[in-house]
């Protein structure tokens, strides 16, 4: 007969724990092991960057010529074929150039009835002293209208890419406007103060004399656009927006292009249907002469100036 132990002492013995485990009356983990619900795994940022670096390292290894033989061979063949192709292309094109009609020869096919009429009767038919202007704006007016629309659509694409929402723009305006450029640079402002009016007047001069002297809408518009860019670089967007903001830009652009389109349509349809058009050619050499060329030049100049400025403003801060 064993000695009876008191209950409390018996519970401390291993026999009690063994029989209790055997009968299953107590889960051995409860109270012994700390238990928690599983937490959601949060991958710290360092791990992510680490993994990205590792995967990049693997990729580098794969494309590293010293580690990967197949890649090395492919790369060499690629380079060899590319060089061969380029040399062959250069050779073929050089051969072609050597076979083309010699430059400046009077018997060349280019010197035919087409250029003859442009040069000889261009003045009577278009009224423009500047043959180039006369040619691109009357003989080939449709092409030039297309070309102006290329500029227009290029601005649209840049807007898709870079234009920011008005709200974001306002928030960032103060911060972004002068991030990389000095604020109120005295020298720049001084130079711009002198130059801007001169540039604008020069641009207007080129546009208005497009039919009389070298130049025209495209070149004059580019000059005016660069004047606008100089102004905004020196004085900032806030001052520019007093006379040239998005609203003005839209009105100017749409008016210019629509005017050009209307003049063009009038010209094409009158000509094609054999109706005399009533735009006088004027006296060659006068400022108000050469029929449709002057108004078209003004329209093109306005459009080009707007485009130049819009590119600059969109690239600089994502809005006009």
């Amino acid at each position: 007969m064993s000695k009876l132990k008191p209950q409390e002492e018996y519970e401390k013995t291993s026999a009690f724990r063994f029989f209790r485990w055997l009968s299953g009356s107590k889960d051995p983990y409860v109270g012994e092991v700390e238990m928690k619900a599983q937490r959601e795994t949060v991958i710290p940022e360092e791990t992510i960057t680490e993994r990205m670096r590792e995967s990049e390292m693997i990729r580098d290894r794969i494309y590293d010529g010293e580690q990967n033989k197949a890649s090395r061979i492919f790369h060499r063949i690629y380079v060899a074929v590319a060089i061969f192709f380029c040399i062959a292309l250069v050779g073929v094109l050089l051969l072609t150039v050597s076979c083309l009609p010699p430059n400046g020869n009077a018997d060349n096919p280019v010197n035919n009835v087409v250029s003859e009429r442009y040069i000889e009767s261009g003045l009577q038919e278009t009224g423009a002293l500047n043959i180039v202007s006369g040619m691109i704006l009357t003989y080939r007016a449709f092409d030039t209208f297309g070309e102006t629309n290329v500029l227009f659509i290029a601005t649209c694409c840049v807007m898709i890419l870079l234009m920011l929402d008005d709200a974001i723009l306002k928030k960032q305006a103060v911060m972004n406007d002068r991030r990389y450029e000095p604020k109120n640079d005295t020298i720049l402002q001084g130079v711009a103060f002198v130059l801007c009016p001169v540039i604008f007047i020069f641009g207007i001069y080129i546009i208005l004399n497009g039919h009389l002297s070298p130049g025209g809408g495209f070149s004059g518009g580019a000059v005016m656009g660069s004047g606008l860019i100089l102004y905004v670089a020196a004085f900032g967007f806030q001052k520019t927006q007093r006379f040239f903001d998005e609203h003005v830009y839209k009105i100017a652009k749409i008016t210019a292009l629509c005017m050009y389109g209307l003049i063009g349509t009038y010209f094409y349809m009158m000509g094609a249907n054999g109706i005399d058009d009533h735009i006088p050619l004027g006296i060659p050499g006068h400022i108000l002469s050469s029929g449709i060329i002057l108004p078209i030049n003004v329209c093109v100049g306005l459009e080009v100036a707007c485009t130049m400025y819009a590119f600059y403003a969109l690239f600089r801060r994502g809005g006009l």
């Binding site: 649209c156 749409i254 349809m269």
Partner: protein, 497 residues
């Protein structure tokens, strides 16, 4: 002069005006302007088509007061007005079909720009179709390229920007080659107008002078346009550009933009160089070879693809291959088949893109095939439309694809040297087409037990369903009553010469 003759000029100018005015409007108004423009242009092109059919001759329209070699000209015949009419209809349907996705994918403030781009794209397509002047063609190729880039990247995420950059680089390479070839041709002939160039080229060939520059300039122009229309070895830009842009853009790009360039190439072959001279340069054999390779490799890439949009995009590579194979036959019949395939592919591919977006929408916007299982039951209109498109692509009778394959086969039989490769590859390509399209059709009609995705009925998207029905009708019409269309194409090609 009949007033109808003004219509081609009016329709091009209307597009340009619509684009310019839309740039000052809000999204909704720009959309209305665009819809009105497309409807008007459809009517104008239909009138031109009827007029040219009734007179039985093409006409030249002088843009301005100065005639042939000095001024610009446009020219309209049966083929030009047929293609223009078709382009307007397809663009109208594509824009309506993808409108709900457009509103989701594009920022509200930039929506009007989308319609500006579309208007100008239409103007450039019409100008490419109607032009009779190589330099006008180049100017409008520029507009076409830039607006296509914009259409790809207007849904702004990383993939579309990357796709747009790729597209721009490849496409500008193509434009550059076209311009280079054009400059050389001008140097040799002294003309920019198509009919005058053709006369001078015939003279040059007869005298035997300048053979090398002439061939090089033809090659440059052909390759440039091949790059822009994604012929097989130059197709690397295509899957991303069609796969990730918003659905209307993908439909318009695949069915219209590349076709515009192909049509320009047809014009160059017939109206600038002359069919016989082009045929004698043997460039046509290279186009034939590239076309055959494209038919096989485009399809195998499509089979490997696990993304439904990219699969459809790769299928375009194969279909462009068919068109160039038709050029490569060097016969009238081959060219007729190619032109018919331009129409049938345009009608089918835009249908497939728009139907596919309906299927992915009811699969939680996942494009993987595993998620698309059973989507044909969840959106029944899109399922039926996708099936019709697939059957047309594979070339099952009653649908448009069958007729184009029949025409290709007939053309191949007439050409003894190229009959065997053409017929064999046509057969292989048809089987490959069937593999990936039927795989998709079976996948979307495999029932699934419990799907987490909701179903869409007619009432949810009435416009979408109507558009799909219109596309199906167009496809079946091309398939059933193909003879009038083929006759018109033959007549139009005869007017080209």
């Amino acid at each position: 002069m009949d007033f109808v003759r003004n219509f081609p000029c009016i329709s091009i100018m209307l597009c340009l005006f619509a684009g310019i005015i839309s740039s000052g409007l809000r999204g909704k108004a720009a959309m209305l302007v665009n819809t009105g423009l497309l409807v008007t242009n459809t009517v104008l092109s239909a009138c031109t088509l009827l007029y040219t059919l009734s007179t039985g001759a093409s006409f030249v329209y002088v843009m301005g007061r100065f005639p042939a070699p000095w001024g610009n000209e446009i020219r309209a015949g049966v083929l030009e007005s047929l293609i223009a009419l078709f382009f307007c209809i397809i663009m109208l349907l594509s824009l309506f079909g993808g409108r709900h996705k457009l509103l989701q994918g594009v920022e509200e403030g930039k929506l009007y720009l989308y319609y500006v781009l579309m208007d100008l794209l239409l103007s450039s397509l019409l100008a490419l179709v109607y032009t009779n002047d190589m330099f006008t063609a180049y100017v409008f190729v520029e507009i076409n390229t830039i607006s296509a880039c914009g259409l790809i990247m207007i849904r702004q995420n990383g993939r579309t920007i990357e796709a747009a950059v790729r597209y721009m680089i490849m496409s500008l390479l193509g434009s550059g080659m076209l311009l280079l070839g054009l400059c050389m041709l001008y140097d040799l002939t002294g003309h920019l107008l198509m009919s005058n160039i053709k006369e001078s080229v015939a003279l040059i060939v007869a005298e035997g002078e300048y053979t090398i520059p002439l061939i090089v300039s033809i090659v440059l122009m052909s390759v440039g346009l091949c790059i822009k229309s994604a012929l097989f070895p130059f197709h690397a830009w295509l899957p991303d550009a069609y796969g990730y842009s918003t659905v209307s853009s993908a439909a318009v790009l695949s069915s219209l933009v590349s076709k515009g360039y192909i049509f320009l190439l047809i014009k160059i072959i017939y109206r600038v160089i002359g069919f016989d001279i082009y045929h004698d340069t043997r460039i046509i054999d290279i186009l034939f070879l590239f076309g055959l390779m494209g038919m096989i490799f485009g399809s195998t890439s499509a089979i490997r693809e696990n993304d439904i949009r990219r699969m459809i995009a790769f299928s375009s590579v194969a279909q462009i291959g068919y068109i160039y194979m038709g050029f490569g036959m060097g016969t009238e019949a081959g060219m007729t088949a190619s032109v018919f395939h331009i129409l049938s592919h345009a009608a089918t591919k835009s249908l497939l893109f728009i139907a596919a977006v309906g299927l992915t929408d009811v699969s939680g916007r996942n494009r993987q095939f595993i998620e698309l299982t059973g989507s044909g039951y969840r959106n029944r209109w899109a399922g039926v439309a996708f099936t019709v498109g697939s059957l047309a692509m594979v070339g099952v009778p009653l649908f448009s694809g069958f007729i184009s394959k029949l025409l290709f086969a007939q053309a191949a039989v007439q050409n003894h040297a190229k009959m065997l490769p053409a017929l064999i590859v046509l057969g292989i390509s048809t089987i490959l087409n069937a593999i990936y399209f039927m795989k998709t059709v079976i996948r979307i009609y495999t029932p699934v037990e419990d799907t987490p995705y909701p179903s869409v009925t007619f009432r949810d998207r009435p416009v979408y369903a109507v558009v799909l029905t219109a596309f199906i009708v167009l496809n079946v019409m091309l398939g059933i009553s193909s003879q009038p269309v083929v006759d018109m194409i033959r007549q139009g090609l005869a007017m080209f010469a």
